[in-house]
Amino acid sequence: MNSFSKMAKPYILWAAFFIVFPMLLVMFYAFTQTGGDVAKFSFTLKHFIKFFTEKAFLEVLFLSFRIALITTLLCIIIGYPMAYFISRQDEKIQTLLILLITIPMWINLLVRTYAWIGILQDTGLINTFLESIGLPKIKLIYTDFAVILGMVYNFLPFMVIQIYTSLSKMDKSLLQASEDLGATPFQTFRKVVFPLSIPGVIAGITLVFLPAISTFVIPQFLGGGQYVMLGTLVETQFLKAGEWHFGSAISTIMAVIIIASMYITKKLDKEAGER
């Protein structure tokens, strides 16, 4: 054990340099402002006050939350039955199906999102087809629908794989016991399978919700520039407005949200385990 903890030491150094130090730097920028002199920094809370008092920024925060929550929820609703179905197949077929689910992730996110533009836009695949059979065009791109579709499409594999893992790890004798004791298949699912798969669902939530709330490529491409989410806001502050301090403050707010949601999911996980 002792020799193992020694082996971890280089990692601590690595973590300090590449994780803790950058985080501290971001926090430093978030709580400071540059004075008239370039080298002078002074403590301030004005970036946070600016964020929480401006309606536009709060709308961005609200929109990010809303989209991320809807995405996570849909990922569970679609992903759970999928994972359940896969876990009930032959082992060989299971491997194949999981492979099929991960294949889209081999392609770059940007390319996949661009492909959705080609499918959804007014002159795109769907509308061209509708037109050719004499139906009116429907407005798909630059709507909530398009953004959520792109997000769910992108993040679904994370949810499916997590739930699938916890379902396939499950002790099959428990299912037999439940059946032997006279439970209907639905009762078995509700009382045995679902509670045991909750850790998978929670891991899936973490893996979907966190990237979803900070994403910016998908909403920008499928929702248009008016679809400003937290990630977009940080990008604009750093690269376009050159406001490093305000950008850092938003990053800090995002970090707090992420840590808080991780804490909540962890707590849920524990409660589920105790039950």
Binding site: A56, K139, G225
Partner: protein, 353 residues
């Protein structure tokens, strides 16, 4: 190794002490490689190779997505660049920050024959620091079959507020190009520092947002206008050239109220490791023939009139607006840190409405 460093240092000291013509010729022998920093897809690569072959100077070629990203990387100072090709307002900012060196005209024999509109730009009136590369205007890219020419002529930028074109419009998603139509339509300068005028422009844009519900995009404009996704888009004349050459239903129009003239130009940073090589590179790309070939590849309009005329009569003869036209009311964008922050915040509020 130490010896080499010492001798070269001593040599450099000597050279700066002399500081005359011989110094520059000495330097020409001493550096074998230059680093060029340019926007993506903004130079024909085979021409860079030709330059390398002709001069024996290696070119390390790096690209950036936006002037702001360029400035962030440049000011980090990790890489030292010899030639950068930014836009007007960014050049003005770099001059102000004392980051550029004066160009040695003696080494730039091809620095002639520029368009009048770019030969004395406001950010560098004597072309002391910069050599124009490509230029153009900001205007409306529109579908000839869907947008009435009369509306364009009579309403100018105001067409962006015309409910007739509801949900048919792309607005360029940057506070700079977004505010310009509003300010120009209201009869103000696009470089206004008057907060009252900016507020009126903000109100104008909010009205536009409500009346026509435009979609805010940047690079997507090109692909989407080629496929005819929308009928009107705010865009750069250079992008308009590319769009029109792929979809001849599209055309380009600059409203009567005036617009933004943009100029991208080649500059040499003060701390360029190989200034002589940089001059050679700039001179090479100012050669009318090279300029023509380069512009044909990029699709934008070159700064040298002879090259532009040749292309307008040749490969781009199907684009009537290939050579940008200018008006008295046109302006070059001026960088202003304070105003930029005001516009940037206002722009966000307009978009999320």
């Amino acid at each position: 190794m130490k010896k080499i460093v010492l001798t070269s240092l001593a040599g450099a000291l000597l050279l700066t002490a002399c500081g005359n013509k011989t110094a520059t010729t000495e330097k020409q022998v001493s550096c074998k490689s230059i680093t060029v920093f340019n926007a993506t897809e903004y130079m024909k690569e085979s021409l860079v190779e030709k330059f390398e072959k002709d001069t024996g100077i290696d070119v390390v070629y790096e690209t950036f997505d936006s002037n702001e990203a360029m400035y962030t990387k440049f000011s980090a100072g990790v890489t030292k660049y010899d030639v950068i090709i930014p836009s007007d307002y960014m050049i003005q900012n770099l001059i102000k920050k004392d980051a550029l060196q004066k160009l040695d005209k003696a080494q730039l024999s091809n620095a002639k024959g520029f368009f009048k509109a770019v030969s004395a730009p406001s950010f560098d009136e004597k072309l002391e620091y910069s050599m124009p590369y490509m230029w153009g205007t900001v205007g409306l890219i529109y579908n000839k079959n869907k947008v009435s020419q009369a509306d364009l002529e009579s309403q100018g930028w105001g067409i962006l507020k015309n409910p007739k074109y509801k949900e048919r419009i792309f607005v360029y998603d940057s506070e700079r190009d977004g505010f310009m139509p509003a300010l120009k339509n209201l009869g103000y300068s696009l470089n206004t520092t008057n907060i009252d005028e900016i507020n009126k422009a903000t109100a104008w844009l909010l009205e536009m947002n409500a009346a026509t519900k435009p979609v805010y995009v940047t690079d997507q404009i090109q692909d989407s206008m080629v496929s005819g996704e929308k009928d009107i888009a705010i865009g750069y004349s250079g992008d308009a050239n590319l769009i029109i050459s792929q979809n001849n239903e599209m055309a380009y129009f600059t409203p009567k109220e005036g617009t933004n003239i943009w100029i991208d130009a080649m500059v040499v940073p003060k701390d360029a490791p190989c200034a002589s090589g940089a001059h050679k590179f700039i001179n090479f790309f100012l050669d009318p023939k090279v300029m023509e070939e380069n512009a044909e590849y990029i699709g934008y309009s070159p700064s040298i009139e002879e090259s532009a005329q040749a292309l307008a009569k040749g490969v781009f003869s199907n684009i009537p607006t290939y050579i940008p036209t200018t008006r008295e009311t046109d302006e070059v964008f001026v960088h202003n840190e304070e105003i930029k922050k005001v516009l940037s915040d206002a722009w966000l509020k307009i978009k999320v409405k």
